[in-house]
Symmetry: C2
Subunit: 424 residues, 2 copies
């Protein structure tokens, strides 16, 4: 019989993800009001639209059978054409005259899978990916699992700070590590968790800077635009991709998980030409391409014009939930000195700064008291890689995506009670 | 501007897969009769059954919305319960008294994705996986991509030869490499490409042997049962899993891609208890779990009793196509000395031995003549890892899955013509 069980380095690293115990707690204590999970609002999920789209796919047996067959590795061509058109429409004048071929559109089962695929395609163990921090913790987990070093770059109320990026690249070059830097990762729309969108006047500068620092080999920008459509105020901004004249630097990733259904799970990205083959080769090894049927369904949703009106309804729906969470924060937390939170214009989160000295991590007083009071949040420290920048421990992420307005309000009241207990 | 583009080791290895040029040829020359692709028969794909199952999922808005929401990482619980029951039913007496909990059932988007996940969880670069050869070339590609060394183990008309496995393990131990051996991979039902099922009287011996050689750590058996349901003659055999008393060795993987629809893409596996957490952690990093909607649809297919009768119809359908291909081989190729092919009792392939000295690989005469005549096959050498065993170059895989009977017959006639040209 065996006496020692060893897993791969990747599996060992994956097993140490900090979010694991939190998810376990949420599952084992279903009575808790979780403002932690990034789930979308279940009541908003479009069963009637899905039925309509599926009926259209299955109405013609030949079309239906094509949808039930294996697809191609890069994805269903009409869907790729449709999301390409969508990008040119969203970016408007910013993309005018620029070219992205349909071959550069790559479909995956959600955009997270594409981010994983890109890290796996671009990076070896001990390579470096720069991350605007706080950063989506699942992406930090991907880097940890692949053995890639995340290097945090500071952000402010306008997103990634270009001067901080320049400083970090300068230091990495001085340390002889520039060649290890494979990518910069950042969310450019209502980022998870900061809720900030990268300011328009910084977008060109970031792309220019990364191109300038691509001295011996191209540093890619992984532009995560998962929340672009969940915009409740202000104008849409042009994507980072639209500032990339050569199209060799920015890889824009998007998804229908937030704007239609995460259960169908269709995401996509726009790849530089030189990465089309390598990403397809990698994906071919894993599963030959994203599930075909869901791609036909999403193409049908778009072709029938069902998506855009649904997004408009979603915006109204989430805007109310966002307003409710902000109002509850104002009511219950606003009077506590040192508590701060930017008012989000989109996305699914409120990013809360605690009073100085209050730690939010698991095992700390606030976390334990919050659970005692009956609610869950995500500790802010999960969104930091723990690199050169000191890990912030006095922030928390709250999601208004999944819970009802009534439960959002109760959850915030519970959090306030826990915080007041910590503050004595 | 960049001057050197470097990809990860994995991406570089993936880019060198031998099947790439073949797929490219098939896509660029659609007029060719491809007996190469492993696609299922499109006319057999069950649009009406899919519609019925989907209607049931969407009929109740609460159920429909749950299906359109994120699922859990290991998969939809009722589906996992159903495929668990299915295994106990299929294995019958062989599994009686054995226990597999529903927690050990893990769902992925097709079983290939699970095989990839398992390799990534178990193996580091330079580890070893033993492969019954000829072996499913996509699996060999996974190993190459992860940097794992495939070591071929000989098979005969009854599948993997236990004495060859013992000999290989003895040699690896002598070379100080036993600790690197993480798994044995084999298809146990109508294997792709050999069409052979591992003989019943070898099944227990293989499991016993691997357990005996698990001296310091457990060597796993990856049992690929993708074709189990496509059985056209003979009785079903008990799975290797049913010989694993402790349940720590055999990981049985299955899929609905062949027996229902590859476009929905639902596969699953039964994991040893100690791998449940690690596999879920890895999958969580990649995409949080297989697409949820398709899992609800497959659960509905099973709950409504739609699957089993469909499998019976499929068997009749493929049996006819298999008979047609074998008859065409008999008619056109049977008279050529040295040509041999076992008569398959299931699966989607005919595995053809060419006359001595005739090479089937790309760039060789037979391959080029076959394309000139208008057909495509998969060269047999792709199914060998090129390890200790000499790579066989005088075999080819023919699929009767996708093409119509009429085109199967024409394709075989073309192949015969090409072969006669080679033989002069």
């Amino acid at each position: 019989m065996a006496t020692v069980e060893r897993l791969s380095q990747r599996a060992t690293a994956s097993g140490s993800q900090p979010i694991g115990p939190l998810m376990h707690l949420a599952l084992s204590r279903p009575e808790l009001i979780s403002l932690a999970a990034g789930f979308v609002d279940q009541a908003s999920l479009p069963t009637e639209l899905a039925r309509k789209a599926i009926e259209a796919v299955l109405a013609d047996p030949r079309h239906g059978q094509a949808a039930l067959q294996y697809g191609s590795t890069p994805g269903f061509l009409p869907l790729r054409e449709l999301v390409r058109e969508q990008l040119f429409k969203a970016d408007g004048a910013a993309m005018a005259g620029k070219h992205i071929s349909v071959e550069q559109v790559f479909v995956t089962a959600g955009s997270n899978e594409l981010l994983h695929l890109l890290v796996d395609t671009l990076c070896n163990k001990d390579d470096i990916v720069l991350c605007a921090e706080p950063a989506y913790f699942v992406f930090l987990g991907i880097l940890r699992s692949v053995g890639v070093r995340a290097v945090g770059v500071a952000t402010d109320a306008h997103g990634l700070i270009p001067e901080a990026l320049e400083e970090e690249l300068t230091q990495l070059e001085a340390a002889g590590e520039l060649e290890r830097v494979k990518a910069l990762y950042l969310g450019t729309y209502f980022d998870n968790p900061s809720t900030v969108s990268l300011a328009e006047d910084r977008r060109g500068a970031v792309v220019e800077m990364i191109k300038r620092w691509s001295k011996k080999s191209t540093i890619r920008i992984l532009e995560d635009a998962a929340y672009r459509e969940l915009r409740y105020a202000g104008n849409d901004l042009p994507s980072l991709r639209s500032y990339d004249e050569e199209g060799d630097t920015v890889i824009l990733t998007e998804t229908f998980s937030k704007s239609f259904s995460p259960g169908l799970r269709v995401g996509w990205g726009f790849l530089p030409r030189d990465l089309v083959g390598p990403v397809a080769d990698q994906k071919g090894n894993i599963d030959f391409g994203a599930p075909n049927f869901a791609q036909h369904v999403m193409a049908s949703v778009l072709e029938q014009g069902l998506w855009r009106p649904h997004v408009e309804r979603l915006r109204d729906h989430y805007r109310q939930k966002k307003d409710a969470m902000v109002a509850a924060c104002d009511q219950y937390l606003g009077g506590i000195p040192g508590v701060k939170y930017p008012r989000p214009n989109g996305g699914m989160y409120v990013w809360l700064q605690l009073p100085e000295g209050v730690a939010s991590g698991p095992g700390g007083k606030l976390f334990d008291y919050a659970v005692e009071e009956g609610m869950l949040y995500v500790p802010g420290e999960y969104f930091y890689s723990g690199g050169r920048e000191a890990q912030r421990t006095d922030q928390i992420r709250l999601s208004y995506g999944f819970q009802s307005i009534e439960r959002i309000e109760r959850g915030i009241a519970m959090l306030a009670k826990a915080l007041r207990r910590v503050l004595g």
